[in-house]
């Protein structure tokens, strides 16, 4: 067990180094969401006055959860791309030929993606605080947001890893980039549910990323709500299970076809 944890940690560290050393993997996680946050906050700040908009201190406070959601989704996608690059260049063969349980290879990648999620959560909380956004529920609320973002990054990374293992192609995983944005825009990450129109609203109401976005946003803009938190955790658990099942199947397939 301890040996497996060492392997997961070592592979996670490699994954983090790989992301920081490859600017094209880092840019979507930090640069794009930060720019979008700046543009949206600067350009659509008066949206908070619309009827139906939840009571917030300011638009930046509302948008922090959206920026974190975008960042973590792209961290998961970047993790999948990096994993597919490993497959393409044969690096995963080095890992598959080692006497380790093969699920540790996926877990190592997910540990790295979770660390990027943690970095993303801290980055956007710091930006929010720096530009005057309050964390309504204080330290406990910030901690909840950080945990949810970190866990969701890992969960999304599981889906990315499954697609990478199944396709073995970085361009296939990279091709999911627009889909990630569609999934986000069809959630309440960037817009309050009450202000969305049909059919987007109907989709967003059942989109698990809406529940996660609300779980992250709730302690930032209001008091901690146990129901929102529970729905967010259940949604994350669902995505984790889906990612692990798909990854396990894809791993078996890869070992079968070589």
């Amino acid at each position: 067990m301890a040996a497996n944890l060492r392997v997961v940690r070592a592979l996670g560290m490699r994954s983090i180094r790989q992301t920081f050393r490859r600017p094209q993997l880092m840019a979507p996680i930090v640069v794009f969401p930060t720019l979008l946050l700046a543009v949206q906050t600067g350009g659509a700040g008066s949206a908070v006055d619309l009827p139906g908009f939840p009571p917030v201190q300011g638009f930046l406070q509302f948008m922090l959860a959206g920026a974190m959601m975008q960042s973590l989704m792209l961290a998961g996608n970047s993790g999948g791309i990096a994993f597919a690059v490993d497959i393409e260049m044969g690096f995963t063969d080095r890992l598959f030929a080692a006497p380790i349980p093969r699920f540790t290879i996926v877990l190592g990648r997910l540990a790295g993606t979770a660390a990027l999620g943690l970095f993303s959560a801290l980055w956007f909380l710091a930006i929010g605080l720096l530009f005057g956004a309050e964390i309504h529920s204080g330290v406990a609320g910030a901690l909840i947001a950080v945990v949810l973002v970190t866990a969701t990054a890992m969960a999304v990374g599981g889906i990315g890893a499954a697609i990478a293992l199944r396709s073995g192609s970085a361009s296939v995983v990279q091709g999911l980039f627009p889909l990630v944005l569609v999934v986000l825009f069809l959630s309440s990450a960037f817009f309050p549910l009450d202000l969305m129109i049909q059919p987007a609203k109907a989709i967003a109401e059942y989109n698990p990323f809406s529940f996660i976005a609300e779980g992250v946003r709730n302690p930032i803009i209001a008091d901690i709500d146990a129901t929102d938190l529970l729905y967010a955790l259940l949604s994350i658990a669902g995505i984790v299970v889906l990612g692990l099942v798909l990854s396990a199947r894809a791993l078996r397939h890869r070992l079968k076809v070589g």
Binding site: A3, R6, V7, A10, L11, R14, R17, Q18, R21, R22, D86, M89, G90, F91, D93, R94, L95, F96, A97, A98, P99, I100, L255, K256, V257, G258
Partner: protein, 321 residues
């Protein structure tokens, strides 16, 4: 004691049978050269032996462990350096070997010590903290080899370790392989270079079309082809007279051109003096004389019907075009 035992190993990809009933045995402490052109089934066989690919038929044991039933025990006993030097260009050489040590379950301090020793062994100390992407082809292969050795494996698999390397880098890898073998490591080496198999291997298996077509020591395989022959370039005198003289010494072989006589001799170099004397006595001038021994390429031609190196050159030309 056998390090590798393969019985009827098969691998099909849909309708394509890449490996068709391969049988081979590799003794402990032996260097086994697995020789064949691209697409012959060498890499597929190696991937099955290293547990990277499941066989669709037959069985194989490596270091006494079944590759399907006990894959982790196999993986703990082997070191693998893959054809395309599967290295992360963003890692440094030192990071890669330390990671490999962790993957092999070495404690941190032990892994660091082994990494330092191995970097010194393959002469990469100065480049150890540079990213692998900046390494030359030869440096990458040496690093890959070092990573494969981090846990001192019983059996080392090298998939075309010198393909694409310059002659100096190739010789460096050969020396390292010999040294490892002298230390007791069994080496299973795939190659498409005849010279590499001839220089390094104790035993050679020739694979073509997914089947082993010949197996044995390089010398025994060459001996199967026949005796060495003397190749004479005639300067003066009648070629038919030269053939008559040489025919008394050994068996005449079909000539390659109008001024050449080829004669197979039973005693090798010992037959040269009497050949020279006989030609001299007959007044036949000789421009050049050479004793030609059978090569592995002759073996390859005899077993497959085509030249391996010409095949490789044609493929290389196609790639470059």
């Amino acid at each position: 004691m056998r390090a590798i035992v393969v019985e009827g190993l098969e691998r099909a990809f849909g309708e394509v049978k890449a490996v068709q009933g391969v049988d081979l045995e590799v003794g402990e402490g032996e260097i086994y050269g697995f020789l064949g052109p691209n697409g012959a089934g060498k890499t597929t066989t190696m991937r099955m032996l290293t547990t990277l690919l499941l066989p669709t038929g037959g069985r194989a044991t490596v270091a006494g462990h079944d590759v399907v039933g006990e894959p982790r025990a196999v993986r703990a006993s082997i070191g693998v350096a893959l054809q395309e030097a599967a290295l992360d260009p963003l890692m440094t050489g030192r990071e890669l070997i330390r990671l490999q040590a962790t993957l092999q379950g070495l404690p941190t301090a032990e892994g660091r010590r082994r990494a330092d020793d191995l970097l010194e062994r393959v002469d990469l100390v100065a480049a150890a903290d540079r990213r692998v992407g900046s390494y030359s082809g030869g440096m990458k292969r040496r690093l890959d080899l070092a990573a494969a050795l981090v846990h001192e494996p019983r059996v080392l698999f090298l998939d075309e370790p010198t393909t694409g390397l310059d002659p100096v880098s190739r010789k460096t890898i050969w020396e390292e392989v010999r040294e490892l073998n002298d230390e007791g490591t069994t080496v299973f080496l795939t190659t498409q270079y005849l010279e590499e198999a001839d220089q390094l291997a104790d035993n050679v298996g020739i694979i073509d079309g997914g089947r082993i077509v010949a197996e044995g020591t390089p010398e025994s395989l060459k001996a199967e082809i026949g005796n060495p022959h003397i190749q004479l370039q005639i300067a003066e005198g009648s070629i038919s007279e030269a053939e008559e003289v040489c025919g008394r010494i050994g068996k005449l072989l079909p000539p390659t051109d109008a001024r050449t006589v080829l004669v197979e001799v039973a005693n090798g170099a010992a037959d040269i003096p009497r050949t020279v004397r006989a030609l001299d006595e007959a007044g036949i001038g000789v421009e050049s004389l050479e004793l030609v021994r059978p090569t592995l390429d002759d073996v390859f031609v005899a077993k497959t019907g085509y030249h391996l190196e010409k095949e490789n050159e044609a493929e290389q030309d196609a790639v470059e075009a």
